[in-house]
């Protein structure tokens, strides 16, 4: 069966520090991969999505970046965090169009 792993579950980082969140999927090949952010009291904002290795589409201009070094690995990064980067970050995968996406448990990031 397919599973998705996302870590860490919680993270407290100072302003200006770097960030690396990792997500891996097991049990499927060539998934679509997504990064979302839920800010306090807001909906799920699509940040990045990827349909294959090295293929990244950015939805929102910001100081975050994403990479997909392997088929089932998706990484969210920042060189210098801002206070506004605080939120709940979610990784998800799907097998393509017109199918549901499955989410990881999320990472609560607090930038202080």
């Amino acid at each position: 069966s397919q599973t998705i792993h996302q870590w860490p579950a919680t993270l407290v980082q100072p302003v200006g520090s770097p960030l690396s969140l990792e997500c891996t999927v097991e049990g499927t090949s060539n998934p679509n991969l997504y990064w979302y952010r839920q800010a306090a009291g807001r909906g799920l904002q699509l940040l990045f999505y990827s349909v294959g290795i090295g293929q990244i589409s950015s939805e929102v201009p910001q100081n975050l970046s994403a990479s997909r070094p392997q088929d089932r690995q998706f990484i969210l990064s920042s060189k210098k965090l801002l206070l506004s980067d605080s939120g709940f970050y979610l990784c998800a995968w799907s097998v393509g169009r017109h199918t549901e996406a499955f989410f990881g448990q999320g990472t609560r990031l607090t930038v202080v």
Binding site: Y36, G43, Q45, Y49, S94, R97, F103, G106, R108
Partner: protein, 110 residues
């Protein structure tokens, strides 16, 4: 540009009654729609979906209705149960992107 909108941030329903959650979209290219349920500090879980070639899909207590001309979909939960209390998100896609709405917090009280 919010392409998927849930205009009701919250809804309170008595146990056993019907819960109706609404969602509007603006992009006519969307052709597949989904509903998710989310508890705090957890990832959303998939509930039900509908293709644009249909106007209704039912799964147990959950039914999704799609009105393409109005660019509107709704989720009906009958009967509502206290365990249904959560935030519900609608989502839409027409390509490889999956766009979510802002969510509606449903509270089911005894």
């Amino acid at each position: 540009d919010q392409q998927v909108k849930q205009n009701s941030p919250s809804l309170s329903v008595q146990e056993g009654r019907i819960s109706i959650l609404n969602c509007d979209y603006t992009n006519s290219m969307f052709d597949y729609f989904l509903w998710y349920k989310k508890y705090p500090a957890e990832g959303p879980t998939f509930l039900i979906s509908i293709s644009s070639i249909k106007d209704k899909n039912e799964d147990g207590r959950f039914t999704v209705f799609l009105n393409k001309s109005a660019k509107h979909l709704s989720l009906h939960i009958v009967p509502s149960q206290p365990g249904d209390s959560a935030v519900y998100f609608c989502a839409a896609t027409g390509t490889d992107k999956l766009i979510f709405g802002t969510g509606t917090r449903l509270q089911v009280f005894p």
